[in-house]
């Protein structure tokens, strides 16, 4: 099974930029109404564990927060590999660098261009790491924050966002014919505040088979993933 975890992938944008590969056989919006704040780490931890983890993850130390494999659906797979997954295998150094540049931008110490360069460089690194794992484990999960990171500073700039969505769609295209179960999932969507982007409740999911889900919560994927592990990879 392949899970493409795409931070801030927004249903409206997927449709706007006509990302045909991201819109698999079944796709739609996720229901995030049981979360007070749409925080990246809390949402991914909840996705992995099937439980709303919002209250258990303090804002200040969220980036270092980790769940154990036993708490997650990963334990149902004999072999798995994850790339840069928040609350699990986040590449601390890369993300610390990104956050430093983001802060720098707001303090007039860094430019958007410098920030974008770092985001794209880290994305390329993750992409390489992730595609090395595809086909070699029962479950591979790769996390990519391109839409979130670029979106926060440039969501209102259509050319930039088109480039981001095009890139993510190409990644989905590459794994399309892998003869595996493919879940594309985002933690939340994004809406424009002028040129900037703010987290929205318009999250996205898609699956390359019919799951029959309707407005699933981010915690609702735990059971179907478990079923797939037990039926297909046991």
């Amino acid at each position: 099974m392949i899970i493409l975890a795409l931070d801030a992938l927004d249903l409206n944008q997927v449709q706007k930029f006509n990302c045909k590969n991201l819109m698999q056989k079944e796709y739609g919006q996720t229901d995030l109404s049981d979360f007070n704040q749409l925080r990246t780490v809390a949402l991914w931890a909840s996705f992995l564990t099937g439980k709303n983890m919002e209250k258990e993850i303090p804002i200040k130390t969220q980036w270092e927060f980790k769940v154990s494999p036993e708490q997650t659906f990963l334990k149902f797979f004999k072999t798995y590999e994850t790339t840069d997954v928040p609350a699990f295998s986040l590449k601390q150094q890369n993300h610390a660098e990104e956050r430093k540049l983001l802060k720098g931008y707001f303090e007039d110490k860094a430019t958007i261009e410098e920030y974008d360069v770092a985001i794209w460089r880290n994305h390329e690194e993750n992409k390489k790491d992730f595609f090395k794992t595809v086909g070699k484990f029962d479950l591979v999960m790769g996390y990519f924050n391109l839409a979130d990171a670029i979106g926060h500073l440039s969501f209102g700039i259509t050319e930039k966002m088109a480039e981001v969505y095009n890139e993510l769609d190409k990644m989905a295209e590459e794994i399309k014919n892998s003869d595996s179960f493919v879940l594309v999932i985002s933690d939340h969507g994004m809406k424009a505040v002028g040129r900037y982007g703010d987290h929205s409740r318009n999250g996205f999911y898609s699956f390359n088979k019919k799951l029959g889900l309707n407005l699933p919560r981010i915690t609702s994927f735990y059971s179907p993933i478990r079923r797939i592990a037990e039926n297909e990879y046991s």
Partner: protein, 267 residues
């Protein structure tokens, strides 16, 4: 045949007269910057030398001394009915940029204006915003209704065809009227030259730097420039690739987003 600036001026003057005719109690906002000074001048021209409604200056108390000096001089020379909007209560409470730029802007600018509108019952405000200033301003209409919280729903705006500016039927607290929305920064400067308008000295380069957009002292930085006359400024703008508001760090969207990202734990 009118020159291009005369055409721009005609359209703006028509809009100002329309606003005066359509609304009971309009006023014009004046920051003393080039755009709003040109707009006040247009109001003056539209009514043959006398601006027939109040001119509002929002005083955050953090403005440059040159701004206050310029304001008082021109208000006297042009015989303006100047009203100063100041949120004294917030200033007493110690609101300042150091304690949060977004709060500072909201309290000292937005709230100050809200209070004044309520007190004086203004139903239309003439503002000197331009579409080329900023991405979000490109979405503005000439007539832009605001509710009591100053909210602007840019996704639900009426079309303004054939220069018809119709008041919307829904309730709104006040209408914003934007007579120079279609002008560019360059055209404003060319108009300043043509009309021989007074210019705030902050716009001219001193020691290799000048202000291209005027705001409050703590949140405005000068840009590198050697343009010390209006002609040199015009030449500079013709070739510059730096956005006009690059020196304005108190951009509300930016401040809002910084606060938001901080609350989400990104910073």
């Amino acid at each position: 045949m009118d020159n291009y600036l005369q055409q721009l001026e005609k359209k703006s003057i028509a809009m100002i007269r329309e606003a005066k005719a359509q609304f009971k109690n309009p006023a014009v906002l004046w920051s003393t910057g080039k755009d709003s000074t040109a707009t006040v001048w247009l109001c003056k021209k539209a009514f043959f030398g006398k601006v027939p409604f109040p001119v509002i200056h929002i005083d955050t108390s953090y403005k440059f001394p040159e701004i206050y000096e310029f304001r008082n001089k021109i208000a006297k020379e042009w015989n303006l009915n100047l009203i100063i909007a100041k949120n004294e209560k917030a200033l007493e409470k110690g609101v300042s940029p150091e304690k949060g730029r977004l709060k500072c802007c909201t309290e000292l600018k937005t709230e100050a204006l809200k209070n004044l509108i309520k007190e004086r019952k203004f139903d239309a405000l003439i503002l000197a915003i331009r579409r080329d200033e900023h991405g979000i301003r490109a979405k503005e209409r000439y007539y832009s209704p605001r509710d009591e919280n100053f909210r602007w729903n840019y996704k639900d705006q009426q079309a303004e065809l054939w220069d018809l500016y119709v008041k919307p039927s829904e309730d709104f607290t006040h209408m914003r009227v934007h007579p120079i929305l279609h002008w560019t920064e360059l055209e404003v400067w060319q108009y300043v030259v043509q009309e021989k308008l007074p210019v705030n000295p902050l716009y001219f380069a001193k020691n290799g730097k000048r202000y291209r957009s005027l705001g409050c002292m703590p949140c405005t930085v000068p840009i590198p420039s050697t343009a010390s006359t209006i002609d040199e400024i015009v030449q500079e703008i013709k070739t510059s690739k730096i956005p006009e508001r690059a020196g304005r760090s108190q951009d509300k969207e930016k401040a809002y987003m910084m606060q938001k990202l901080r609350s989400l734990g990104y910073m």
